[in-house]
């Protein structure tokens, strides 16, 4: 299995951080409101537990999640593995791909990574996403897959 680009770790950290900052902000607002309402509330009674609770998802989880990702591509199939608690391995036969996107969000652009989205005709997981590729790798894979896409696989 090939690991994702290092940049993807940064993307995951930023994503986790955004959620974390949001939660802390909500906790602080709640604290401020309760502080005026309940006089004998110790400062940090809400903020501290919340900080402790989000420490794992914000600090420890991104590297673990990042390490859990991996992919392998050969002439016929794309294998993708991800998931820390629930391990998921997806096999996409390249001949079954209907169309294919390479996309890049603002945070991803900042870290120099792109994501590859494979669309199959299936419905349960018709969008198979492989994030954290360098632009060149994503485009190479896209071109390889495009060569294999057939018009009528149904």
């Amino acid at each position: 299995m090939i690991a994702l680009e290092r940049g993807q770790l940064g993307v995951m950290r930023v994503h986790a951080l955004i959620v974390g900052v949001f939660i802390v902000a909500v906790a602080l607002v709640a604290e401020a409101i309760l502080h005026t309402a309940v006089a004998d509330l110790v400062f940090g009674a809400i903020g501290l537990p919340v900080l402790l609770l989000i420490a794992y998802p914000v600090l420890a989880a991104p590297p673990r999640r990042y390490r859990a990702w991996g992919y392998r591509i050969d002439a016929e199939e794309l294998h993708i593995a991800h998931g820390v608690w629930t391990r998921v391995e997806t096999v996409v036969p390249l001949a079954r791909v209907q169309h294919i996107d390479v996309s890049q969000g603002p945070i991803e652009r900042n870290f120099g990574v792109s994501r590859l989205v494979l669309h199959t005709a299936g419905t349960m997981h018709s969008r198979v996403v492989l994030p954290g590729l360098s632009r060149e790798t994503a485009e190479t894979i896209r071109d390889e897959v495009r060569a294999r896409i057939r018009e009528d696989t149904l």
Partner: protein
């Protein structure tokens, strides 16, 4: 395509009065009542007003009719519509998944039919011709079908449909029996909703069990005796049966499944006759389903999953609403050698499934038992949990036999999926935290048109076996795809 197809045909002129008749009850009938209520004008005024509304409605419908044109060109069908905002839609024949012909009671009266052209897209009314003569509907369907094979066919020299062979049919008695199984509990729910609405007027609280007991004991308030409540429940039950039968009769009356060359054709319906065409090669998988009562009597329901999302249940087409074992086998045989495997041919999932399902609820029960002395009583829930897990495993089997993947699952509602390996779109092997500790895995195969909830999944199979099965399916897909590649290049 050349884009020069001329849309020169109108739908049948009778569509104008037909649409009017359809809309009239909702718009026109309310008017006199509204007027009579609002002011005390004479009936003559009201009637003349209604007449003028009717004239306007007919005129609007006529304009819509006159601006709606369609045409069939080489390889495509073109529909033009709209008064100010004209749209021109061209649907290439290759993109068309199904052509359905539907005939409501009014349409049957006029000898007309509604033609629905379905493409893979999810939008409604992608191509709707409402309504054309039956002959025109048949002609269009013929052209589209022929066009999919040979795009250069002229409009008039359409080959008539191949001789059709009856595969399955249901007589009235069978539809009636099928309706009995479709008993709906909706009436009981409705009754309780009604009771809740009139809660304030009742002399008791319907959600207070103590009151219920008291009610039975003392028969308070006279009018709500036990007998009366039983009678109401019985009535709801009866209504449930009657509506189930009525609904099924309306939908499945005269159910006929025929095979014409490479396509199944299904006709059904009492008031609205619908006709659906299911090309054999578009069938993604077959699903055989039976409930406890049906199973006891040897009845099954058969569905085919197709790509296009029809209005009745996603891409699932009812192929046989109620059929016995030999009939099912007969239909499946026609679909490229599908079959129902013998139980002995299929493999059970791992016995560790028991641990995987019982452990998660057991842990909180034990924690509670340690914390509170009364918590030990919760252990009484353990035997049923174990029993359910054992039953689940007993009925959950899978097998990859020649080119078909079989998955059987469900205790109460037993289902069997028959998936041709060639139709598998992707494979997903997932292992939860507990599954990894137990060396188990869940394998899900994705197919086109699969519903999100009820798709074939093999749960809690031993990890090495799941890996091997996934690898085997992937290998067969590889072999098939490369085979087709060399086949088309030659």
């Amino acid at each position: 395509m050349n884009g020069g197809t001329i849309a020169d045909r109108h739908v049948h002129p009778a569509t104008v009065p037909l649409r009017f008749l359809k809309e009239a009850p909702s718009t026109l009938l309310g008017l006199p009542a509204a007027f009579a209520y609002l002011s005390d004008v004479g009936w003559a005024t009201v009637l003349s007003f209604a007449a003028s509304v009717a004239v306007v409605m007919i005129f609007v419908n006529w304009i819509i009719w006159s601006r709606f044109r369609y045409g069939v060109g080489p390889g495509e069908i073109v529909i033009e519509k709209g008064l100010l905002h004209r749209t021109r839609r061209s649907i290439p024949f290759e993109r068309i998944q199904d052509v359905d012909i539907e005939r409501g009671p009014l349409q049957r009266l006029f000898g007309l039919a509604k033609v629905k052209i379905e493409t893979g897209g999810s939008g409604k009314d992608e191509g709707l011709l409402d309504s054309v003569t039956l002959a025109e509907a048949d002609r269009l369907r013929g052209i589209i079908r022929a066009g999919k094979g040979a795009p250069s066919l002229g409009a008039e020299e359409v080959p008539r449909a191949e001789p059709s062979q009856l595969v399955f049919a249901m007589d009235v008695g069978r539809v009636f029996v099928s309706g009995l199984f479709n008993f709906s509990l909706l009436w009981i729910a409705g009754l309780f909703a009604l009771l809740q609405t009139f809660d304030d007027w009742l002399p008791f609280d319907i959600y207070d069990p103590g009151r219920w007991v008291g009610l039975v004991d003392q028969r308070i308030a006279g009018r709500f005796s036990t007998g009366a409540i039983l009678a109401v429940l019985l009535l709801a039950l009866l209504l449930g049966v009657v509506t189930g039968v009525a609904r099924t009769l309306a939908r499945d009356f005269g159910f006929r499944l025929t095979l014409e060359g490479e396509r199944f054709r299904r006709e059904r319906g009492l008031f609205t006759r619908t006709e659906a065409v299911i090309p054999r090669r578009r069938v993604q998988l077959a699903r055989l389903q039976t409930g406890p009562l049906r199973r006891l009597l040897g009845w099954f329901q058969l569905y085919f999953q197709t790509l296009s999302a029809g209005k009745d249940g996603g891409g699932h087409q009812a192929i046989a609403p109620l059929a016995n074992q030999s009939e099912v086998a007969g239909i499946l045989e026609e679909q490229g050698g599908f079959r129902v495997p013998d139980t002995s041919e299929l493999t059970r999932v791992s016995s560790r499934h028991l641990v995987r399902t019982v452990l998660p609820p057991l842990v909180p029960i034990l924690v509670l038992a340690i914390l509170f002395p009364l918590g030990w009583a919760l252990l009484a829930a353990l035997p049923p949990l174990v029993a359910v897990a054992l039953l689940e495993r007993r009925f959950h089997r899978y097998g990859l036999l020649s080119d078909l993947l079989f998955v059987r699952r469900g205790v109460w509602r037993q289902q069997l999926w028959i998936v041709p390996v060639a139709k598998v779109q992707s494979l997903r092997l997932s292992r939860s935290w507990l599954q990894r500790r137990l060396g188990l895995a869940t394998l899900a195969v994705d197919t086109a048109g699969a519903p999100a909830m009820n798709a074939p999944r093999i749960v809690d199979v031993r990890e090495d076996r799941a890996q091997a099965l996934a690898a085997e399916i992937a290998a067969r897909l590889r072999a098939q795809d490369s085979g087709r590649k060399s086949g088309t290049e030659r």
